[in-house]
């Protein structure tokens, strides 16, 4: 079976700035892979390349076996329906209730009958531990609750691959821990591929099967969590041990 995400010699620039420089990366299916790295090292860019929301200057991106930038628009839309994404700011529709947010892909993408939509939304809200908030609007939820609802919406269509953009960013430590637990338990329960980008080392330690670290536009290190955690590489240790960068 093909990898969940595969980058071959991918380069991405914004103006003169090289964000990803000739990157090769393979993310296996059925595991939680966490991509770590300081801010501005191209973690979010990598996710957007994998979904076709951004195009690279060079290289090939394969997601779920589909060449993202060789695919026709129709095939790209079909590919995205096999993926879910949890955005950093959740990207919930502010004008819709929580129920309608989670129901949105079921109604608009899968065209499911309303009875099935109601059953599935109830199931998803239960899964993320918020069975009683369906009639609220997102602005009446806490940051952690909004994150849970965004996860419920991201997995509504039973995707093969779910991507998380800084899932614990802006949350307090306890809420972050509960989101980590939810990510871990959901991945185990569904058995699908989760790709998480974060700079939260503790979160990475709790949820990752594999860890990659991006540095200076390159994948500096990639492997099973235990291997990366035991690494003696100076840059990896500095990041994991939260050492401040040396100023020259």
């Amino acid at each position: 079976m093909s990898a969940a995400i595969e980058l071959r010699k991918v380069t991405k620039r914004f103006g003169d700035r090289v964000i990803l420089d000739d990157v090769d990366l393979v993310i296996e299916r059925g595991r939680t892979t966490v991509l770590l790295g300081p801010s501005g090292t191209g973690k979010s860019t990598l996710l957007r390349l994998a979904t076709g929301l951004l195009a690279p200057e060079a290289g090939t991106v394969l997601s779920l076996g589909v060449d993202v930038f060789a695919a026709k628009k129709k095939d790209l839309l079909a590919l995205r329906r096999r993926m879910g994404m949890l955005f950093q700011d959740n990207a919930l529709f502010g004008s819709l209730s929580v129920f309608d947010n989670v129901a949105f892909p079921l109604r608009r993408v899968a065209n499911q009958p309303e009875t099935e939509v109601k059953r599935r939304v109830a199931e998803l809200l239960d899964l993320v531990g918020l069975p009683d908030v369906g009639d609220r609007t997102p602005d009446r939820l806490s940051g952690g609750q909004r994150k849970r609802i965004a996860l419920a919406r991201a997995i509504a269509l039973e995707p093969e691959l779910v991507m998380f953009d800084e899932p614990t960013s802006g949350l307090d430590p306890q809420t972050s821990a509960s989101i980590d637990q939810l990510i871990k338990s959901t991945q185990v329960r569904l058995g699908i591929t989760f790709v998480v980008i974060t700079h939260d080392v503790e979160s990475c330690r709790l949820i990752a099967d594999d860890v990659g670290m991006l540095l200076n536009g390159k994948v500096h290190v990639f492997g099973p969590r235990s291997t990366v955690w035991d690494s003696t590489d100076i840059a990896v240790r500095a990041f994991l041990d939260r050492e401040p960068p040396s100023s020259t």
Binding site: T51, L77, A78, M83, A91, L92, F104, R108, V109
Partner: protein, 264 residues
């Protein structure tokens, strides 16, 4: 190292030069999305919303404009002893030009600003990306219903503007200037024909479409980002919408009434 002021100026100039190209490309894909059949329920709701939001502004603006035109027309014609005929000027000048123009301008100010800020806010908060990630086409889902709502709402606003303007003219003519009620109404309507209403409807369709396309472009496709871009998008939608409405109104008048004069 380039001076940052020069870099900013260069960016501003190149953005301005590229604007027509980008707008043209957006217009083409937006029209394609509109004819591909956007969600009917969304389109209906947006049309009702547009009318509820824009009609009060259109009615108030054109009511006062009709009244003002009457005062000015009466003052000008009083020197010829023909103040009672001021309705003639308001009738054809207002109905053919001023009221449709003000209806378009009011739509640009009310609906254009709202649509642009809505769409830009959805981009800033990544709601548009969320739709793309679900495998949905945001052009079909967000832009197309708004374009159709504006195109339907435009002529309705123009008709409402004509009626409101004439009522404003009639009230001021009768109660302020003391013109006979029947004479004022006859003067207002005497130069108007079905063709003027039809032309008004055609103008309404075009002006509504223009307001919609400009607003959707500024909210959906303009090269801008960050929270403050929401206000900037609304601002651009109003200013550019007004300019487009004025130039389109003149062009349509030249094409339609200019042709009628040639045929006479």
């Amino acid at each position: 190292m380039t001076d940052p002021r020069i870099a900013r100026l260069t960016t501003t100039i190149s953005t301005a030069l590229l604007w027509p190209l980008r707008f043209g490309a957006f217009f083409a894909v937006a029209m394609k999305a509109a004819v591909s059949g956007p969600p009917a329920k969304d389109t209906l709701l947006l049309t009702v919303r547009l009318l509820v939001r824009s009609l009060p502004v259109v009615l108030v603006v054109t009511f006062f404009s009709g009244a003002m035109l009457t005062v000015q027309a009466a003052a000008s014609m009083a020197s010829f002893g023909a103040a009672s005929m001021s309705g003639l000027i308001v009738g054809f000048g207002g109905v053919r030009e001023v009221f449709p123009l003000l209806a378009g301008g009011s739509m640009a100010a009310r609906t254009g600003a709202e649509l642009a800020s809505q769409l830009q806010a959805m981009r800033v908060t990544r709601q548009v990306e969320a739709l793309e990630m679900m495998g949905l086409d945001p052009l079909r889902l967000l832009v197309a219903p708004r374009l159709i709502a504006c195109t339907i709402g435009g002529p309705l606003c123009v008709i409402a503007a004509m009626v409101s303007g004439l009522v404003g003219a009639q009230l001021v003519g009768v109660f302020q200037l003391g013109i006979d009620r029947g004479a004022m109404w006859d003067a207002l309507l005497s130069t108007l024909g079905t063709i003027d209403v039809m032309v008004g409807l055609v103008k309404g369709v075009f002006l509504g479409l223009i307001v919609g396309v400009v607003a959707c472009f500024e909210g959906f496709a303009a090269d801008d980002s960050g929270p403050a871009s929401v206000g900037r998008a609304a601002n651009r939608a109003v200013i550019r919408g007004m300019i487009f409405v004025c130039s389109a109104s003149l062009t349509l008048s030249m094409l339609i009434y200019g042709q009628l004069l040639v045929n006479e």
